[in-house]
Amino acid sequence: MSEVMNLYKKRVERVYKAINLEQPDRVPISSALGTWSSYYAGYTDSESNWDLDKCSKSLLKVVNDIPMDVLHMFYARPGGMYQALGSKSFHYLNESNIVQYSDENAEVMTSEEYPEFIKDPFRFMVEKVLPRKYAELAKDTPAKDLALAKGAMQFGMYGAKKGAAEANLISQYGIPMLFDGLAIMPLDWIADFFRGIKGAFMDMRRRPEELLEAAQALTPLVIRFGMGQMFSTPPKANPKIILLPLHLPPMLKTADFDKFYWPMFKTIVEAFVANGVIPMPFYEGDWSRYYDHLQELPVKKTLGWFEHGDPKELKQKLGNTMCILGLFPVTLLQYGTKEECITKAKELLDDLAPGGGYIFSTDKELLSAADGKAENIIAVNKFVMEYGIY
C-alpha cells in the first residue's frame, strides 16, 4: 500500500472509531472550511460556483497547507445550473461576497395551497414550485424543456466534478471527505424554501394541522432524496454519512418542536440508520433543552455536530449516545490570538476527548474570507494532533 493510501486508511479508521464511541489513536480533526477555502486559494465564492474546477483546486490547496484528518465537503454550488434555469433564489451582494439567501424569494407557496401540497408534494414541487423559483421553467414548451435539459446537464457535470475532486483528495493527499450527501428536515424545507420563515411561523398558529400534515407528507421524500445520494455515490468500505443541517428548532417553543419537528426528524434519522447510513445532524444554535430528546436517537449510529453548548454537559448527557463534534468557536479563529485559540482547544479536548467518541471541529462552517486566520487554524490543528493523542 502506498504511503498516501496508508494515511487515508488510518484517517478513516480514526474517524470511524470515534463514530463507534471507541478511542482511536488520537482525536480526529474534521475541517469545516467551506467557501472560506476559495478565498484562501485566491478565488471568490462566485468564481468557484461558476468554475467548479476552482473549488477543486481550493480544496487541494487547503489539504496541502492545513493539517487535518477529514474534510467536510465539495462546497461549491452549480452556478451554471441556476443560470440555465433563471433562478430567483440566490444572489450576491457584490462579486467578492458569499451567495445570499432571501426569505422573501423563498415564499413560493401560499398558505391556501397546503391541501394540494399535502395530496402530492412531489407533483406540487414540479408543477407549482419550480416555475415560481425559476423564470425559464415558467415559459412555454419547448423553452422550458430546453432549460430543464440544460440544467440537468449542468447538474450531471456538477456530480462528476464533485466525484473527481473527492478522488483527487484521496489519491494525492489521502484525505477523505466526511459527507456523501445532505438532506433537509421537512419543517425546515417548508420554512426555508416554500413558505419563508415568517410564513411558516404564521402557519404554525393559523394552520397548524395543515402544516403538520405537510411536514408528514414531505418525510418520505426527504428519505428518498437522501438515500438517492447515498446510492448514486461510489461504494465505500464504511457506512456513508449524510449531513442534516437543522435550522428552526432553537426558535421553536418546545411544545411546537414536539409536534412539528421531532417526530419527523426521528423517523428520518431512524430510516437512514436502518439503511446503513450514518446521519450527522448539525444542531444549529442552542439545543440544550432538547438533549433528553436526543438521547432517544440510535446509539453509536449518529454524529452530532454542535454549534453551542456546555461541553461537560454534552459529554455527560449525550456521550454514550452519539459521537460529538463542534463547539470550537469560529469567531476565535477570526479575532483571537494563536495562544487564545490553543487554550480553547485544550479546554474542549479536556472535556470531550476522554474515552473517545469525539471529533475535533469548529462550531460551524467557515464561509467568508474573514471567518478565520489561516495561521490560527493551522496552529490549532497542529496542537490537537499532539495534545489529542490517547
Binding site: F122, G156, I184, F225, Q229, A271, N275
Partner: protein
C-alpha cells in the same frame, strides 16, 4: 388524460403490493436513472 410526470411510489406499489409496507427509500434498486431525475427535481425545489 393527466400527464404522468414520474412513476410514483403508489404506482409501484400497485404493481408490487409486497412493497406496500416498505419505506420509499427501499426503492433504490428500481432504476438509478429515475432516481437521478428525482434527485435533480428535488434539488431544484430545495436549493
Amino acid at each position: 388524460m393527466e400527464e404522468q410526470l414520474l412513476i410514483s411510489w403508489s404506482d409501484i406499489v400497485k404493481e408490487h403490493p409486497e412493497l406496500a409496507d416498505k419505506d420509499p427509500a427501499m426503492g433504490m434498486n428500481w432504476d438509478i436513472g429515475q432516481e437521478m431525475i428525482f434527485a435533480y427535481v428535488t434539488f431544484l425545489a430545495l436549493f
